[in-house]
Symmetry: D2
Subunit: 403 residues, 4 copies
């Protein structure tokens, strides 16, 4: 039996061309594996067929949408994962899921090589290969774009030469990666970081400046998982789809930033993630209501590290696993309802209520019903400030730090 290459297949030019090319280079049969992570767009049956038409020995399409929502997007929301305080890890989340299915396909089909379409200057190569190293360390990896310096022009030439059934005439100016959790856009004119994005760049979101009626949505969480929208029970996948639709219609979730890539360079990125931003906004406020202060403060550091690890391709790392154990423990009481106003590009919390609330009206109110014993404060304040007071006195005595 000949050797087999499992190819992460998207249906696009680069990975279509890779099918005959990999076969040529390695003498192996190519198994094309396309994963549906909610990227929408083209019909998956057509994609499946195209791989066969390009010469794949097998072509598989996996509907991983619910899995992606439940096991990748929602954990990111529970970590309030925003890389550099902005980016909800759109592509970074889908890569480990794809890796998992590639590793499974390799096992099932007896593949010994895996191939992906990433370049050598992005983050995705790391996410693929660090993930494969963890899940299937024996597989060899080939990345034609990086390892054979494969370019678009070379790919077109090769496709024409081989008569591959791919439309190479349409040249989008945009390089796009999209899935259920959001959409990333890169394009030449945005590489000048002084240039503003134009409306044409966006697809998941309407123009926030355009007038429309405000929307209001109530999201119900149970132990840190969204379980209902406006009272209607939903799966995580349905919650994200619905919020993509409604928050997207209000222009919520557009992001434009300069970002630190793992490979050591800064890049300009434009993202849209309406559902992700709406969910994280609501979740974070429900945490404000239900999570104890010291936990909340420490969790910010955990959340940041979680986001960096996942961004940096270490989804399958033991540290990610241990951080998840911490986060799981904190989510037990993150249950309740949050009302979001969606309008003009903004998702704004306007109300929250919860059986598990730590907000105590009696302790908080300045009106009738106040149960807070103010006489406790004086002692607290004195001892709270004591170390600083002693240090200031010392500094003053010795000539002092200017404070």
């Amino acid at each position: 039996m000949s050797e087999r290459v499992v190819l992460a297949y998207s249906g696009g030019l680069d990975t279509s061309v890779a099918i005959p090319y990999l076969a040529e280079q390695t003498g192996a049969e190519v198994i094309a594996v396309a994963i549906d992570v909610g990227q929408g767009g083209e019909d998956l049956a057509a994609i499946r067929q195209r791989a066969l038409d390009c010469g794949a020995a097998e072509s598989v399409v996996v509907d991983a949408r619910e899995e992606f929502a439940a096991d990748y997007c929602i954990p990111a929301m529970r970590a309030n994962a925003l890389y550099m305080d902005r980016y909800p890890l759109v592509s970074a989340l889908s890569r480990p899921l794809i890796v998992k299915h590639l590793a499974e396909a390799a096992k099932y089909y007896g593949g010994t090589i895996v191939s992906h379409g990433c370049t050598g200057k992005g983050n995705d190569q790391v996410r693929f290969e660090a993930g494969l190293g963890a899940l299937a360390p024996d597989l060899k990896v080939i990345a034609p774009a990086r390892d054979f310096a494969w370019t678009r022009d070379k790919a077109i030439g090769y496709a024409e030469e081989k008569g591959l059934p791919i439309d190479v005439t349409h040249k989008s100016p945009y390089s796009i990666d999209q899935n259920l959790w959001g959409r990333a856009v890169e394009t030449g004119f945005l590489e000048d970081i002084w240039n503003a994005p134009i409306e044409d760049v966006y697809s998941y979101t309407a123009n926030p400046a355009e007038s429309r009626d405000p929307d209001s949505v109530v999201i119900t969480f149970d132990a840190g998982v969204p379980v209902a929208i406006d009272g209607e029970t939903v799966t995580p996948y349905q919650a994200i789809v619905e919020l993509n639709r409604r928050a997207g219609a209000q222009g919520v979730g557009r992001l434009d930033m300069v970002e630190d890539r793992l490979v050591g360079i800064k890049s300009r990125e434009v993202y849209e993630a309406p559902g992700a931003i709406a969910l994280i906004t609501a979740h974070q406020e429900l945490e404000n209501v239900t999570v104890e202060r010291d936990v909340a403060r420490f969790k910010k550091g955990v959340d940041q590290r979680w986001g960096e690890l996942v961004y940096d391709g270490l989804w399958f790392s033991p540290l990610k696993h241990a951080l998840d154990a911490f986060i799981d423990d904190t989510q037990k009481y993150v249950s309740g309802e949050v009302r979001l106003a969606l309008h003009g590009g903004r998702a704004v919390v306007t109300g929250r209520r919860s059986e598990a609330s730590l907000y105590d009206f009696g302790l908080a109110t300045y009106d009738t019903g106040d149960t807070f014993d103010q006489s406790l404060a004086k002692g607290f304040v004195q001892l709270w400030g004591l170390p600083s007071k002693l240090a200031s006195a010392r500094d003053a005595r010795l000539g002092g730090t200017e404070r």
Copy 2:
């Protein structure tokens, strides 16, 4: 000479009533000190006179607006200080400045007691008293509202009894603290955290839902300090005033949250901080462009701790001082221009440029001119993922953690 009390005077009912009351209770002369931190509203000369009319031995008004902007607001912006990722520390920033001037006044006028109007369940008592402990540890502190359980009704009765020149008929439903950096509002109906704020609550910001033409502003920073707006040189104070005006007109900077107070309770707070939010947004993106990745990642933890310390009343603490040394070091190259679009409640960065940029077009571009050596990536990826790979192999060998 009789003893002297230095009173942090606002001109309002509580601190006006405190003047004769403190004199009565302590037998001391009262020195009223009002600090202008850009709170606007009433004429300061009128406030000064009112204190005298209420029986103050001396009444002083200090214009501390430029000082507040330069030495308190801008350092907060350099720390991207948003307590719980939201609140730009409006009141928390003015308290240490007021403390500083109270301590100076006590020294100048020979005061031995300081008095403030804070209650025993808020953060401000801590900020006052921890600050005084650091700057003037020998001063005794009296907080009538807390120490004598002084209530509004009691204050009104006392004012009428003494015939104090204060209008007690107007009862605002809102408890407000405002300054140059923003405005905080508390009110009974918002103590039900499911209730949304109503338009009436706001004063610094227009309704973001109302239609108006978008605004665009270019902010120039030099070493982490805003020095020009649309090319016109400004002081920090002028920068904040101008951005309060322009961002406020677009409804930018409204915040509504449940917040962890230092005294251990959660409270509902509504804020407006148009200039603060605009400046922090621009500053943060300029850091994305000019600050190296490891610094940026570590600085998030420093920024968080800075915000917590200042929120918790420890402005004059040695840790705050040491964190400032770290932050100062990171700001040396945070210079350049950021363009913000202001509209519909959002301040959005649309462009950035800087002599000190670490964004390298050659390394970032996917077009002609690419200087990134992709052949380096393979070795990097392999060693980057090696510890996780070894751990996964071990786990698999021993029966394994599910990843």
Copy 3:
């Protein structure tokens, strides 16, 4: 039925005197509860009887030694808990256990008040009362030493007046708290922090300077728990007892430090903790062998926070609970053997072996059998240093930070 006070009873002067005094002050019956946390010394039956002789309505002795070892000491070892890098939390660990049994006794005997002997300037009052607040928030707390300014002389006078069966003639110069995990000593002459401890201060440890034959011990861990000593199966309690004996005989575990108390002051403390130091030393090295690098680095911050929380009296806090979830996850593979040399006050690891080791001889060796592919290093090194390199080039271009 009359009200009941549950008293944390030690058998010493202060808590013995507290029995009639609390009865007098509150009109309640006193239930004395003594907890055996391995403090050794006096016979517990005698302690039990003494409480009755002093007038206690009930007197209970709880053998909590195995529980203390398994549920308090070993978790501390798993967190490598050394407050300020030195102190293994001896007293801080026993307090929550005592609190738990007091709360249970209060429930069982219908107590509504709890009493403890702590002063108002130490940490233990916080550990008692924060613990009780978490476990039994409805109980009232009385601390005679703090709340009634009870002193030793006053206690002696009262004991003599009431004819209590307590020997008040012996006045030890030392204030001691000891349990299975170690021993804390305070005494007047050590309050001069330039004075060295004298030999007389110590009880758990022999003088390390005295000559004796070295000892060597092999500790076996399973998932972060010591399960055998020199091949013989042990419970956690037995492991600690045995290591106290053997490490103590070699003078291991003496500590002398200036320490930051939670109440805001610095104090001088002398400790002995032979078993704790031996176990933590061995555990930490086994982690070096079995825990992945990123986990190990992050865990240091978790361990530090764990130690601070427990020191600060927050054993029952939700953050402690969430940190435990993180730590549990990291300990799954902390299994294997560590050989310690014990001699001259030092516990030194001299060997380690583990099925779960991440040390890979092939990758590590410089001799025959080397499997490390050095060709990967060049790319790794280049990209690893790239962000710093870009920053340095920028700095140089702009006139530069001196590095």
Copy 4:
């Protein structure tokens, strides 16, 4: 003029052979640069001559001992830098200093290539090349051991073939790197991590088990720098030399650990660092006395990151620079005296005194003179525990987390 290679020259086999080999391979002249970082051993004039005898065009020896002590070792001590809580960064500290002198030599002699003797599986290659990337990004780097897979046997063969004046008969079983701050030893039999080190491995330290009279030393610090030993003024270099001698004579500073290398593997390392361990021990305790609690707690995280950065080759990184700014700020009052007992392998603090002490006898004492107001404690304790108490009550109400 021909091209020039600047070679980091040690006088040993590998770098001696590199001289003719580099000349052959590159056609360039070789400039040998040897740096005295206190490694002792061979005469530097002899080393200088050997390079010339091997064919170097120029041979330079730099006495960098005082610079190494003041600018590299002491900053490490101020950061209490112990990688993985153990290793005082011996080699990691000398590499950036060597890099600095190589870059200067390259500039002075017109070198365009730099060469070092590191392999591709250690940390030192990263320290060299990341450092060079920061200081002299235009220089090309050649590492013969890594880039040409140069082995010891190959080197011996080449030396004999070329008749180089090197004694290749003596084959030490140890691979050693040593300098003023300590000594690192690797050897085949220690690659079995169950094997204990033998006495033969050590050179800086006497056997701690051998009987000798205890030593006692008083170290005076000024703003975090050691300035006197037993009252005699010293430079940093002299302080380290003296403490290496005295602590070494008592067997202080032997370390044996499994360590996480930057390249992703674990390795077994044995170190000796008597002076470093003595100084860090004393410095840390002086910090306990003079540094405020919150600073001390935060500094632990800064110290850890500092150690990791330097270990990881990022001495010249902007984050290291910013962490230094933080540390500098904390050291202003780290002044005073620490008395250390040195004996039997242990350096133990037995006394400390300081004008800048934050230890307040009046607040700390339990004897006459107590100035601590215990009445403040009750309020403090209540509010300190309030968030946990509210969370526990919520948990209990909802069925509860087991605590």
